[in-house]
Amino acid sequence: MRTGDELPELEIAITRTLIVAGAIASRDFQDVHHDAESARAKGSPDIFMNILTTNGLVGRYVTDCFGPAAVLRKLAIRLGAPNYPGDTMVLTGRIEDVDGDTAVVRVVGANGIGRHVSGTVTVSVPQQPPSPQPGGTP
């Protein structure tokens, strides 16, 4: 865990099912997240992912990368281009800062029309005992 480390990217298919399931699992019943006709009447070409689902996916991305012992401390995101059905979002991350066992990770999720989400995640990863390294490289 070093400043500048890149996280492996995670590709997420933005299906209608994911958008609706995420909205309902987050108890967000705003019609723009499940009712395409209502979404169009409100100026959107289709339903789109709610912010709670995006937030959850960003959290999942970071804990997937750092393992089950990782503890999220802060999660701050800003939304840009909406996630519409049929698109794909690619999450990428880079460690911006490390302080002891805590890292600040810059995360970006890009879809076919632009940057859906950008944000920073502060995550603590409890130190594991150092594994012996062959060759004794410090």
Binding site: A21, I24, A25, S26, R40, G43, I51, N55, L75, L79
Partner: protein, 316 residues
């Protein structure tokens, strides 16, 4: 006037933190972390807000001030809402059985902002979440309450059912009038220019005192002050002197992104118009362009625009 006022006072989570809702969330998001299952399960931290959601039965505990704010924005036509920012801090993990309480305060309300979705107001609230009176997390949330700038036609046209009784159908098909482009303001100082446009001529003014060319049209010469002039017709060759790409806010009848060029004509004067024939992100300073007239709307004059050419692809 709303900043600092409570949005929710003494809110209580409708459900205690519980395994089924955690499982449904993980299932929906494809989160397979071992931390959220089993006897020592914690809730995914990003669920913090979920435990405060009112759901279909509404948000009890919303303050009169917050309802008034939302009502005012609705009244101003800002009936649509979209979340733009979420900042959460987690002080300790939530576990099944925890029952959250929360208080929200309006941190800020922006002035009217022009956005791609429409003009609206950003409203930021901060929510403090507690369990047994102890803080467990905070949650800052920003929404845009906006007046939608456009609506999309239904994908399946809702056809009015034929009713033999002649009764009005219950659902009338919605028809949005096609927005039109702004019309040119034609006055005695520029009427000659628009007359030229009608004939597909781009006319440049020429001072009869000092022969200087000028564009756009003006009643007098900047160089010598003479009010006498005639015109010369532009040959049509030019180069992109500068340009911008308009992404937002969108204007009715225009479809961003598109490139607007400041074109230097071969005659030396500059004119602002659209650059066409080249993807908006391929327009470059110095790119040669050629005048053409394009009619964008029935019954309106064809307008002078400039067509660029991409360098030919080298075949392999």
């Amino acid at each position: 006037m709303f900043e600092g006022r409570p949005a929710v006072s003494g809110g209580v989570g409708k459900d205690p933190v519980n395994e089924p809702m955690i499982r449904h969330w993980c299932e929906a998001l494809g989160d397979t972390s071992a931390a959220y299952a089993g006897p020592d399960a914690v809730a995914p931290p990003a669920m913090l807000q979920v435990w405060t959601m009112g759901g279909l039965s509404g948000n009890a505990g919303r303050s009169a001030a917050y309802e008034e704010l939302l009502g005012l924005l609705d009244g101003a036509g800002c009936t649509s809402v979209v979340a733009t920012d979420c900042e959460q801090e987690y002080l300790r993990p939530l576990r099944p059985g925890d029952r959250v309480t929360f208080d929200s305060v309006v941190e800020s309300v922006s002035g009217p902002k022009s956005t791609k979705l429409g003009t609206g107001y950003f409203v930021t609230t901060r929510t403090d979440v507690r369990v047994d009176g102890e803080p467990v997390g905070t949650h800052r949330f920003r929404i845009l309450k906006y007046a939608p700038v456009r609506t999309y036609a239904p994908s399946v046209p809702s056809r009015a059912p034929e009713t033999p009784t002649g009764q009005k159908p219950q659902v009338a098909p919605t028809s949005t009038p096609t927005p039109t482009r702004p019309r040119p303001v034609i006055n005695r100082d520029n009427a000659g220019f628009w007359d030229g446009v009608d004939r597909h001529q781009l006319l440049i003014q020429r001072c009869l005192g000092c022969r200087a060319l000028r564009f756009p049209w003006l009643p007098g010469c900047n160089a010598c002050g003479s009010g006498d002039w005639d015109t010369v017709e532009a040959g049509g060759d030019g180069t992109v002197f500068s340009y911008v790409v308009l992404h937002h806010p969108p204007f009715p009848a225009f479809d961003p992104p598109y490139a607007v060029g400041l074109i230097e004509l071969a005659e030396g004067v500059r004119i602002i118009s659209n650059v066409v024939g080249v993807p908006y992100d391929k327009v470059r300073i110095g790119m040669p362009v050629r005048l053409e007239f394009v009619r964008y709307e029935e019954g309106q004059p064809a307008l002078p625009v400039f067509r660029g050419d991409l360098p030919a692809e080298v075949g392999g």
